[in-house]
Every structure is written in C-alpha cells, then in structure tokens.
Symmetry: C2
Subunit: 140 residues, 2 copies
Amino acid sequence: MKIGELAKKSGLSAHTLRFYEKQGLIKVNNRSESNYRIYNNADLDTAKFIKRCRDMGFSLEEVEVFLSIRSDRPAHICADAKNITAIKITEVEDKISELQQILIALHKLSDACCGGNESAELCSIIDALDNDKEQDKTEA
Amino acid sequence: MKIGELAKKSGLSAHTLRFYEKQGLIKVNNRSESNYRIYNNADLDTAKFIKRCRDMGFSLEEVEVFLSIRSDRPAHICADAKNITAIKITEVEDKISELQQILIALHKLSDACCGGNESAELCSIIDALDNDKEQDKTEA
DNA sequence: ATAGACTTTAGAGTAGACTCTAAGGTCAAC
DNA sequence: GTTGACCTTAGAGTCTACTCTAAAGTCTAT
Ligand SMILES: [Zn+2]
Ligand SMILES: [Zn+2]
Ligand SMILES: [Zn+2]
Ligand SMILES: [Zn+2]
C-alpha cells in the first residue's frame, strides 16, 4: 500500500508518517518504480503501535525504546518496558496533581466573583490575583 | 530597584522580565542615567500579578486581558474576568480527564507486566501496545 | 490527453514561553 | 585601577511534535 492508504488505516497523516521516518522510527523497505513508498501489513502494525504509544502519552523518544524492545524481544527484559511505563505513570500522576491544585485555585477565584455586568471595580478575581492577603470574601 | 532585584523579589528571572516587556505585558517608565531599567513597588506588584496568573495556568494572552482589566477596572465588568476563568476551568478539567484516562490505561499496561529480569519475549506491555485484541491476562 | 488525486523532496514554519548569546557598558569595592 | 557582579541590546536558539510549502513527477479515469 502507498502512504495515503497507510495513513488512513493507521490514523496518522502521511506527513506524520514521513516525519516519523525521518526521525528513524519507521523504516521503509520498498519503493515502487516511481519511487513511491510501499508498505506492507507489518508496517501498518508498526504505525499502529506508534500511534497507540503516542495516545498513551509516550514521547517519541520513549516510543523509540518500545520499538527497539519490540523489534528484538529476547534482547530485552520486562523491566525495560515496565520502567518506562512506571516513570510515565509518575509523570502523569504529578501532572494531574498539579492541575488539581490549579483547579482548586481557579474555583476559589471564580466562586467569589459575581460574573455580572457590573463594573469590575470590586472584582474579587483581580483582587485575588493582585495580592497575597487572604480575602475569602465574596462580592456583595 | 534594578532588574536583578525585581527578579529576586518577583520570582521571575531578569530574562523573563525583559521578555514580558517585549511582549507588552510590562512597561518600564524609568531608566537610570546609565540606561538601566528602574522599577518601583507598583512594578513589583505587576510582576507578581503576572506570576500569579502564570502559576494558575493562564497563558500570556490571558494575562494580558487580566492586566488590562486591572489597569482600568471601571472600564470592565466582572463577566470579563469570570469568563476567562470559567474557560480555563473547563480546559483544566478536560486536561485532567484526559490524563486520568491515560493513567488508567498505563496502570492496566503496567499491572500485567512482571517487570523482572526475564526476557521480554512474553512481555504484556509490548503485546498490549502491539494490537487491539483484548488480552487482560497477566504474565505468568 | 487532460483533469484531478496522489506522491516525491528539502526545507521552512508553527505553537508557547522562555532562555541564552555576544559584545559591550556600568558600578561598587578593595 | 582592576576585579567581578550587574546591566544593555538585537537577535538567535530551545523544546516537542508536528504541519505545511513549493515545485515537480505519477497514476487513474474519462
Ligand atoms: Zn462582581
Ligand atoms: Zn468579579
Ligand atoms: Zn515479564
Ligand atoms: Zn513485561
């Protein structure tokens, strides 16, 4: 199949597939007489593999490691794969915590403000962003 | 005070302060004879204001809006501030949901893998990334 | 044979928010 | 009077992962 078909079947764009190739994630073994990239089902599996990794939040660098494990499993150990996953879990958990802290702060900010058409002269959002003093009052 | 002191007191680097100035977020009114930027306490408050906005996840573009509300409150209404905040809340909530989905998938991936020093020939992480089939089995 | 869809390449552009560089000027202290 | 910390500028570089462009060649169907 040509790149357009691979794109459709893998869910990656042709641009992205060429980009991954340039990055060394995908190798293309076959070219047509007219120099078109020709892919087989194994290439489709690889493309899908990469997409699944990306969808789970792995960086291209991490995907590369997974690909190398996949391409020669006996040369790797389970710990190789699990460590990357564990690190990613920590990263995602940390990011979630950070966002939850932010969310709490945003709600606090939002809840105190009337959000109406009145002048912002007394707006508690601006007040809260403007200084460190506790001011847990809500606009009248 | 000069930029180094403002940096220390605001928690932003001198580079960042100059960058914000170039972006139009900060105006510097005073220069010393030797052309050094001279800041006052109002400038410090503005720098802190920006930092607080950034810490709450607002983009520089959003910070600009907050700054303009702050600089002329009567010309704005509470809704101006609250809308930005509400949108940000939605964004953060969406991002958290997305990360939680990813986290669940990562745990599923991780839990099935022994993570040991054995060959990755049967590694369930690679298996799971490699195809769509359900395979909720754990490595022996 | 001609339109329209597809493919090729190298390389530039995008996003957001910094971060750093080079080459020079200024200032306080010893 | 010199060291060393600080300041100035324009502009380039960083990061990640694409995304797009231009100009050319190829394929399929009518
Ligand atoms: Zn109000
Ligand atoms: Zn308000
Ligand atoms: Zn195992
Ligand atoms: Zn395993």
